[in-house]
Amino acid sequence: MRIKYSFLLALFLLLIPFSALIFGQDGAAASGETESADSLALTLPAPVTNLKAINTPNDHGHSFTVTWDISADDGGGLKNVLFYRVMRSDNPDSSFKQRGENKLPRGASTYQDNGSKRKESDDFSADFTDFYYRIDAITIDSNVFSSSGIYGPVQSKGEWYNTGRTPVLVAVIIFLILTMIFVALAKKGADLYIRPLAGIEAVDDAIGRATEMGKPILYILGLGGADQIATIASFTILSRVAKQVAEYQTKLIVPCYDPIVMTVAQDIVKSSFMDAGRVDDYKEESVYFVTQSQFAYVAAVNGTMLRELPATNMYMGKFYAESLILAETGALAGSIQISGTDEIAQIPFFVVACDYTLIGEELYAASAYLGKEPILLGSLKGQDMAKAAIIVLMIIGVVTANIGGETLENFRELFKVIN
């Protein structure tokens, strides 16, 4: 019962940030331009009006946001305005220079002028310094243009908090709370069901099989560095595997692609052996570095597979084109193969060539599965709540999509705000 309530609470909480976003958005200036100019007369066009420049909000300074109303001859009137040019100077009377590399296309009515933050740069734009702006409306001949009046002085400054991202902050906090709730629940001993995953259950069997056959287990951490979530997930699986391997006294081979990943893997395997009380059985050469080149690594691992004939190959982490080369060679060597990756393009190859595959998200969940620690299971539960919220949102989205174009656009817009 408790779980059910927390489910509802979680769902509710998750929906809040998204609805909060509706109010956080500002209407993007959309200019509907349909016709093109038909006369090429090089008379001077009308200048832009209502020019304004303000310090860009929610940033670290050195930036202005310039807005104006388009020239009367842009899209209407003489229709001879093709471009705009934003000009700036620190002097109201002279030395105006074009900002940005390109002229703006007609119809544009806003420009964000970002200067460099670095004093050494030519483009340095100092905060708390007066600047003046002017907009030129240009015809097809860039020498024929009319300038607006000068706006200024205006100064830029930095802020401490980006109010535009408040919705993201709310989402972050809610995710945090959600995870905490379920972790706390789990700690208190709530019974958390998790459905079986074939790929995970196969891990135990595979280690047993290797022991019976007296053959090694090959564990591949993938081509990702320690800066990939998939690799980190793979570390936790490796630690479980190593623990069991230590207990069964099976041989473990871990060839590594990345030196940092190698150091972490060495630590993990060593401490797993210690936990199992078999520190003497730990062999340093079981975790080793090969090379940081995709196909050279594959060449070496392929060789290892055919020479050592491992009973089980495990591929967990980030994989690219080599996935199928590895998996097919492993199948040739007659090994049982378990794989898991979050690289979408490679999942099909693993599914086809391996005996068991953890698909995307299942790879991250694997550590919780293997550990069966209540805290981890609690966090899985939190993840599922978020999934339920997404499904609800999806349904709302599809319903609004069918009500009408505008409702859909508004609803879609709400997702764009998170930037």
């Binding site: 980006n162 990345d258 940092i260």
Partner: protein, 226 residues
């Protein structure tokens, strides 16, 4: 202690990066940390290269199986290292790019690394065939769906697809294999990809949070002294 300091570092750094998104003055800290990571990674090269040499030297010393080939690795490694670090044969002075046209380093890449890696990559052409033969079998419902989807797409990419089903009239043209193949790519395939992607995004968010909060800490190894 030895485990708590790293946990604290992870927490602080992770939180700092999350918070930085909301605070313009430190907004770019993520990029800086990215550069830091690549610098640390270069230090790790010592560990990697050292380990590689250690493993192969060990094999040579022990005269274990295939030790002759380990010699090839060691010689290749040092040759390439020297050529690259001293920019031997580079067309200009020290400021020319190490991969400049004509330098020995680049020649080694073109004539040695390149054929090796593109051939290794090309092995995939053989392996897609053997995997198709071995795995696309109608063992159960799921496997059959997998098989049929793959077969339709394959058929759609050859003239055979049109030859076999070109007679189907326009009002049923979705059943012409090439059209069906396009439809599968655009609809169910898209749906599947999207479901996986949403799942992954959610998983990454949850996993990251577990790491920052220290719930997931296996990557630190045990509480040992080693």
């Amino acid at each position: 202690m030895r485990r708590n300091i790293p946990l604290a570092v992870t927490f602080v750094v992770g939180m700092l990066l999350i918070v930085s998104v909301f605070l313009p003055p430190i907004e770019t800290i993520g990029e800086d940390f990215g550069v830091f990571f690549s610098i640390i990674a270069v230090f790790a090269f010592f560990l990697g290269g050292g380990n590689l040499i250690k493993v192969h030297f060990g094999k040579i010393m022990k005269k274990s199986n295939d030790w002759e080939f380990s010699l090839v690795t060691v010689v290749g490694f040092f040759a390439m290292l020297i050529i690259g670090l001293f920019k031997i044969g580079a067309p200009g002075d020290i400021s020319t790019s190490v991969t400049a046209e004509g330098s020995y380093f680049q020649e080694m890449f073109v004539y040695l690394i390149n054929p090796l890696q593109s051939t290794m990559y090309a092995l995939l052409a053989f392996f897609v065939a053997s995997a198709s033969y071995r795995a696309f079998r109608a063992k159960n419902r799921e496997a059959t769906i997998l098989l049929v989807a793959a077969f339709i797409i394959l058929l759609g990419r050859t003239p055979l697809g049109m030859m076999l089903t070109g007679w189907i009239p326009e009002s049923f043209s979705i059943f012409q294999v090439p059209n069906l193949a396009v439809w599968i790519m655009n609809s169910p395939n898209l749906a599947g990809q999207r479901a996986i992607m949403i799942g992954i995004s959610l998983g990454v968010v949850a996993m990251s949070l577990r790491l920052i909060l220290g719930i997931e800490r296996t990557y630190l190894g045990g509480d040992d002294k080693g």
